[in-house]
């Protein structure tokens, strides 16, 4: 198999850690991988609005309500940037939305968990956004330009969200007994699912190597997971919460944290559609999309009429 000139140019750019832009030639597999990853990421932002929207109307103080509203709204914004980045690869937003609603597209499995208490707003910020940041910071250097640039903006906001989550938990931990219990319970529920956000162990992650070769991914799943836990441990101490892993401790020899083996059974159960909220997340997205169809049609029709008016 001979290498085409375009392929050679692409390879050279990647080798030089340069950026691929929308008009550049790229291998089909690279394009496909990116569309899959970026649209998954966009869907995750959109579906991820739901667990938090659950508490907007019930937030326990006006300040927290404002922060939460702004956060969920940011997620809509992230979804928009990401859909736009994916669109530069030739896939229209509608098509991605249809795939999501039809259950044919993936999104981060973490959003299939419910948010039964206010403390979940803290735990999601601290743990879920925290894990997302570990995953995403390296993506700011992803080889595909529009993706990398979208991630720069997103990461800034995410780290703000993580701080707010931490602050919610801190306030709860300094509050009443009931509030402390609420915070610890939320950490207990979100800790393992957050660790699972980095994906299966490296030896079971077949697509990672290609993504790393293409400079889309920069670190392995296990590397990122370690980095995340390293970040959490001192913060947990400040909070006064216990991370629910009795085996968790620093190992001077390996220079990383020992931890219990992750139980992937539940992860794969949720992935297979047997988590708590899988059905509801898609139902709710579908409902919003379908209830809004007449509005989108009206806007399109109005634009069409105005367009033909200004042309006539």
């Amino acid at each position: 198999m001979t290498t085409t000139p375009e392929q050679a140019q692409f390879d050279a750019l990647i080798a030089a850690d340069g950026r691929i832009e929308p008009r550049d030639w790229m291998p089909e597999a690279y394009r496909k991988t990116l569309v899959r990853q970026i649209s998954q990421h966009a869907h995750s932002e959109i579906i991820g609005m739901q667990p938090e929207a659950n508490w907007i109307t019930r937030a326990p103080s006006l300040k927290r309500k404002a922060i939460l509203m702004a956060k969920v709204q940011d997620e809509a914004g992230h979804g928009l940037y990401l859909y736009s980045a994916a669109q530069t690869l030739g896939t229209p937003r509608d098509e991605m939305t249809e795939a999501l609603i039809a259950g044919k597209a993936k999104y981060s499995s973490i959003f299939n968990y419910p948010t039964p208490t206010w403390a979940d707003m803290g735990a999601i910020g601290w743990l879920v956004d925290g894990a997302a940041i570990c995953n995403q910071v390296p993506l700011c250097r992803a080889s595909y330009g529009p993706y990398g640039r979208a991630m720069v903006r997103i990461c800034k906001e995410e780290s703000f969200h993580q701080r707010q989550g931490f602050e919610i938990l801190l306030t709860l931990m300094q509050g009443t007994d009931e509030q402390r219990r609420m915070a610890q319970d939320a950490v207990d529920r979100w800790y393992w699912p957050a660790l699972q956000m980095f994906g299966p162990p490296d030896d079971q992650s077949p697509n990672s190597a290609q993504s790393m070769a293409w400079n889309i991914k920069r670190f392995t799943n296990d590397e990122l997971r370690q980095r995340f836990v390293g970040m959490l441990v001192p913060q947990a101490e400040v909070l006064g919460v216990t991370l629910p892993d009795p085996k968790l401790r620093w190992n001077d020899e390996t220079q990383q944290y020992d931890m219990s083996e992750i139980d992937w059974t539940e992860f794969f159960e949720v992935l297979a559609g047997r988590g708590p909220m899988n059905a509801e997340r898609l139902r709710r997205r579908r409902e919003a999309h379908e209830d809004g169809a007449w509005v989108r049609e009206a806007a399109a029709e109005y634009a069409r009429k105005r367009g033909s008016l200004s042309l006539s």
Partner: protein, 245 residues
């Protein structure tokens, strides 16, 4: 004084109730751009509510959260327009159209209030409400001039909010005691009508209703939706008296 505080509650409660209702749309809007737009408007209104409730509370040492979470329905002062349910997107837009045109005219004049705090709040708010007004007008035009269905929905929505317009422009006795501080509601009716007349002319609309609702929000008599809205708004805070968040 207590009169200024009462007036701040009027405006603050209007903003709080409307913000709470708009917040529901975030993650449920017809398109992502509207999740963001309605979220933005809700956030702006919440900002106004916080400033106004904070100011109202300085009269007797209550915090914005004391006022938002620990007053019962008869102690709220919101007008019925703001208490109307979200309904479909057209109803939300119709409510937004009336609310934001009214609020724009109100805040524009309140900038000249002899009460410096109210003037400062109005100065900031009027710019934001200007955007809300533009958003509502654009959508009113789109829906009225879009498909047959959207036009029918927009007409019905305007007819449904119309009975609640009148209350906004009534001069309660409080207003007489706040000369120079408060804006006299009746003086807003003419500019309000003028703006809406332009919009309705462009959209070929003529809202009408056989009814004018009695209202009574300024005296603590509310539309039935408010009880449900407050139950939800306050449920968590009230489960933990004295807690900080």
């Amino acid at each position: 004084g207590p009169d200024v505080a009462e007036y701040a509650l009027w405006l603050g409660d209007d903003a709080l109730v409307l913000s709470q209702q708009l917040g529901w749309w975030i993650s449920r809007a017809p398109e992502l751009e509207e999740d963001m737009a309605l979220g933005n408007i809700a956030l702006d209104l919440l900002g106004h509510a916080r400033s106004l409730l904070h100011y109202a509370g300085t009269a007797d040492g209550r915090s914005e959260d004391d006022l938002a979470y620990w007053r019962d329905e008869p102690e709220f002062r919101s007008a019925w327009l703001f208490e109307q349910e979200n309904g479909d997107f057209a109803k939300t837009i119709a409510r937004q159209l009336v609310a934001s045109v009214y609020l724009f005219e109100l805040y524009e004049r309140l900038r000249a209030s002899t009460d410096e705090t109210l003037a400062a709040i109005a100065e900031k708010a009027v710019k934001e409400v200007d955007y809300h007004r533009d958003h509502a007008v654009q959508w009113t035009l789109r829906l009225a001039g879009g498909t047959d269905e959207s036009r029918a929905r927009m007409i019905r929505a305007l007819d449904d909010v119309w009975p609640y317009v009148d209350e906004l422009f009534r001069d309660e006795p409080l207003i007489d005691r706040l000369d120079g501080v408060a804006v006299r509601p009746s003086t807003l009716r003419e500019p309000f009508d003028a703006v809406l007349a332009d919009v309705f002319a462009e959209a070929d609309l003529a809202p009408k209703s056989a009814f004018i609702a009695a209202g009574g929000g300024r005296e603590g008599r509310h539309f039935p939706t408010l009880g449900y809205l407050l139950a939800e708004l306050q449920v968590l805070a009230r489960k933990h008296p004295g807690a900080s968040w």
